[in-house]
Amino acid sequence: MDMADIKTPILEVNNLSKRFGKVEVFKDISFAMEKGAVMALIGSSGSGKTTLLRCLNFLETPDHGRISVHGNCLFDADDHSTHQEKDIRHKRLHFGLVFQSFNLFPQYSALRNVTLATELLAKEQPGYRTGKGQMIKDIRERAEHLLEQVGLSDKLNNYPHQLSGGQQQRVAIARALAVNPDILCFDEPTSALDPELTGEVLKVIQSLADLNTTMLIVTHEMSFARDVADTVAFMDSGSIVEQGPPSQVISNPKEARTRQFLERYLGNS
């Protein structure tokens, strides 16, 4: 790895805008992330955090702006060759998304939830016909390892309805990691959980941060954001109002809007 590699941000978002009809969700959003960085995105309800994550995961199409990963432009609103339906599927793999509501596949065991996508992707590889047995075995082993990493080695064969919310969310994290995304996004990963279950999920995310997983985390857990993130960005009515290390944005906000927002959330953290 030479110096140029280290300096290129893993994710670059430039002037991204998105509207739904008359509603302008966000405008001119720009930020960059280094490999291994953890960014927490905070902001009040309706400020556009979910929509931003959905744009990065190609679940929504931005109206303006660019998204680049490793210096390669994946999406440019002005360049229609980057909008091709057939390429989008592979571009999505640069990002992972952990949903607020888990969205595990109910008919599959925890282990199968984690292996499914990887197995389907393996089928597209040239060596699949000959190396099938070994590939499937490797995928399975890796899935078991991932589930162990999120503390669920004893739940491999449980179906989602047999797991608590916190366990389901941890399976969802393992599932997202299975396809090796460059950037793992979380959309309020604990807000659908009972308070006593949030800790186990936050601990898993913290452990991923310790392993230098690049993560973009939308959260309302301020103390967690302070502990886990290198950078905190505060979003309000469609723009990033303030961005910086947690010691600044959360503990010493410059902007009045950030202060107001944090005052309301102080009780939660």
Partner: protein
Amino acid sequence: MFWNVTLKLLEGFSQTLIIFGITLVFSLILGLPIAFGSMSRFKPLRWLSRTFVWAIRGTPLMLQVIIVFYGPALIWDGISPLSRMTAVLVAFIINYSAYFSEIYRGGIEGIPKGQYEAAQTLGMTKSQIFFKVVLLQVIKRIVPPMSNEILTLVKDTSLARIVAVKEIIWMGQEFIASRALLWPLFYTGVFYLVFCGILTLVFAKIEEKLDYFKV
């Protein structure tokens, strides 16, 4: 006497089973394209599918049987009419495809968006998402309404007698005219009960098989 009646009724019941079986197979299949039509993003197709379903569900099956049997000859002079059985089958298949298509549509539309989105973010193709993620969940959701509709079909076959197809009720009724016997008609009920009983067991078995997960 009882044995003779039983044989005659069985003869009628074989017609009943033919109507049931053929209608079931073809409308289960035909219901699918109609369901996809009703959900299509292409407006004219969606409109066409939904109008078809509305028209079929909005009129009695008995009337549809009559129209298919007598209609063509009224419109085109000299066209040879469909056989009675064919007319019944055509009307039944059209009718039940419409009902099944609505059950399919309900099942597919009931799958949360998050299931598709989770699969998409994992890089699955549209067809992988349908076959590997959505399909089994849809099947689980539609088994109960499907069971209901199929039991209704068993009993609807009796409408075929309106164009003189000799299904079991027709056979039972014949004993009133020819021998002044009423009980054979009542006796037909036993055949329906036994058959529906068997189907109910089959459906229960399928539901049990899909019981290992929750949607």
